[in-house]
Symmetry: C2
Subunit: 343 residues, 2 copies
């Protein structure tokens, strides 16, 4: 591999500068993505390997990131489990027939991933081939708790109170559902590794909506199962947005890196997570809307604080759709130029 910085950062090797990529880097801020978005529906873009691969490569070619992350969506898993998922333009995901009670679980299945998610594996294989060693390829999945949020609430929410009420009033059913999602996710991520993913990231987008005790009960214990199942098979990143309170516990799951959002200083994040795990983050995505000199200064301050080892430069959450491409590029370039700036 010509650029294996990401893999070396995950293994804790000594590096001159950290690798850099951006969550949601294949997305709406890129004009070429918007062209494909006009022609193909969201799930067409996910399901046609040529489209998914082309979108995945755009930020590698056009912004210069050090890693590709397969273009897909966390909700392909609930779909493969038998739930209908619609992507409503400008409104986000909509599941018309969500899970509400125990008998609804009968509608779900643990999917044969090669059959129902084979299109993701095809996209990974094709992307890997097209990447041709230019950068590592990241696969991903949503955490069981985050998927439960959508499967029960049926759509996005600020509080996911219906999903939480489901867990609090029907804990046995919730745990059965979480275990089903966990089993499906393990099979799915193993399939991604077989298809060529060099790294997989687990996204717990809504873990930070839970109290520390509920996070352990409804989210972390299932992510731990997934990470244990992947141990030795691939490199893993765990990103639980907002779940700063569990950084220490998450550092003990076997994940090779922890993603952190921007609402924590690098120093405190390192204190909580300990010195042995790689950290990934944590630039405020909204800061990419600011002027380029401020982005450059922000990146320098961030790497000064994290250091160049056991660190992956990234945003603290997904890139915003209204970020100018040259601001995204300025972010990436600032990381790449770091060692020079530092001298």
């Amino acid at each position: 591999m010509k650029n294996d910085l990401l893999l070396r950062a995950l293994k804790g090797e000594k590096l001159e500068r950290p690798p850099v990529w951006m969550m949601r880097q294949a997305g709406r801020y890129l004009p070429d993505y918007m062209k494909l978005k006009e022609k193909y529906s969201f799930f067409e873009r996910c399901r046609q390997p040529e489209l998914s691969a082309a979108i995945t490569l755009q930020p590698v070619d056009q912004v210069g990131v050090d890693a590709a992350i397969i273009f897909s969506d966390i909700l392909v898993v609930p779909q493969a489990m038998g739930l209908e998922v619609q992507m409503v333009e400008g409104r986000g995901p909509y599941l018309p027939d969500p899970i509400q009670q125990d008998k609804d679980l009968e509608r779900l299945r643990i999917p044969d991933v090669d059959e129902s998610l084979g299109y993701v594996f095809d996209a990974l294989r094709l992307t890997k081939q097209m990447l041709n060693g230019r950068a590592p390829l990241i696969g991903f999945a949503g955490s069981p708790w985050t998927l439960l949020c959508y499967m029960v609430q049926g759509k996005g929410s600020k509080t996911f109170d219906e999903a939480k009420a489901f867990c609090f009033t029907q804990p046995q059913t919730a745990h059965r559902l979480l275990q089903m999602i966990t089993d499906a996710t393990i099979a799915y991520l193993k399939g991604q590794v077989r298809a060529g993913a060099d790294v997989v990231q687990l996204f717990d987008s809504w873990g930070g909506l839970l109290s520390p005790a509920d996070f352990e009960e409804f989210s972390l214990q299932y992510m731990r199962q997934i990470l244990h199942a992947l141990k030795g098979e691939t490199l893993t990143v765990l990103f639980a947005k907002g779940a700063w309170f569990a950084l220490e516990q998450m550092s003990e799951t076997g994940a090779d890196a922890l993603g952190i959002d921007w609402c924590i200083t690098p120093k405190i994040a390192r204190q909580f997570a300990g010195n042995r795990i790689t950290l990934q983050g944590n630039f405020d995505p909204a800061r990419l809307l600011g002027p380029i000199p401020a982005i450059q200064k922000g990146v320098k301050d961030m790497i000064d604080a994290f250091g160049t080892e056991r660190y992956i430069a990234n945003l603290g959450h997904g890139i915003l759709p209204n970020v100018p491409v040259d601001h995204a590029r300025a972010f990436v370039d600032a990381v790449k130029n770091y060692s020079r700036v530092a001298q």
Copy 2:
């Protein structure tokens, strides 16, 4: 005053059980509130002192909380400063003509609070009289940063990225606006104290969307000004949702108490905030959707962890509209019965 538990908790006096109230306790989960909501628009309910007072008293009479908080809205301040604010049913606030650049500040004024917000003071006076010492009366205001979010973004948002972009690209204008809001808020809260508020709470609903450095720059320094201006004139509570990273700094603002959300353990919150300040919170509002025995156990665990001194039992955010009234009452009763349970 017949029930001054809240005031004594804020002063750090020794208590047998903590006082209890709930953020948004006068609201949509109460059937009697819904009856008034059907007949009067949101701002009618805020502007007619008889309506505001009646709504304020409902949870005192019907749920038994230890404090009344005046029924109003944080957006009355931008309104008084000259911005149009609409409350769109089911969609939240909408400001059709938001602040976007420096010259927009010319449309704003530091209001004569007696003239433009006198209806809030009238409501406080009337409520105080109707309360007749049954419980302390809490006034409130939004933090300058949180008000800027709405004044710039023009509506609610998950990320308030337009408000942040405004601060990052036009910091001087942002600081001028924040200072104007700060000056208006100081006058407004002093007016509330003159009108009978025993305590005032400052709500920084969106402080937790900022990085620690940006929180200091765009939020905390202005809240500090407000709290300093009120020092010695009343008791104060500062609630910055999600801003756990600044609990230590907030404990040094002169606030008598800090509100904390549910995404932190009582132990860690106390460690960050130190031993000299009262803490308020931090029951997950969604837990009130769960069964009553679980609510009772949760309350007991919470008070066991916080202790009965320098502590005010509350939710970690506003009560959800779909909470059954008897669940809200179970929460309040569990706090009131605490000393007995503990023996």
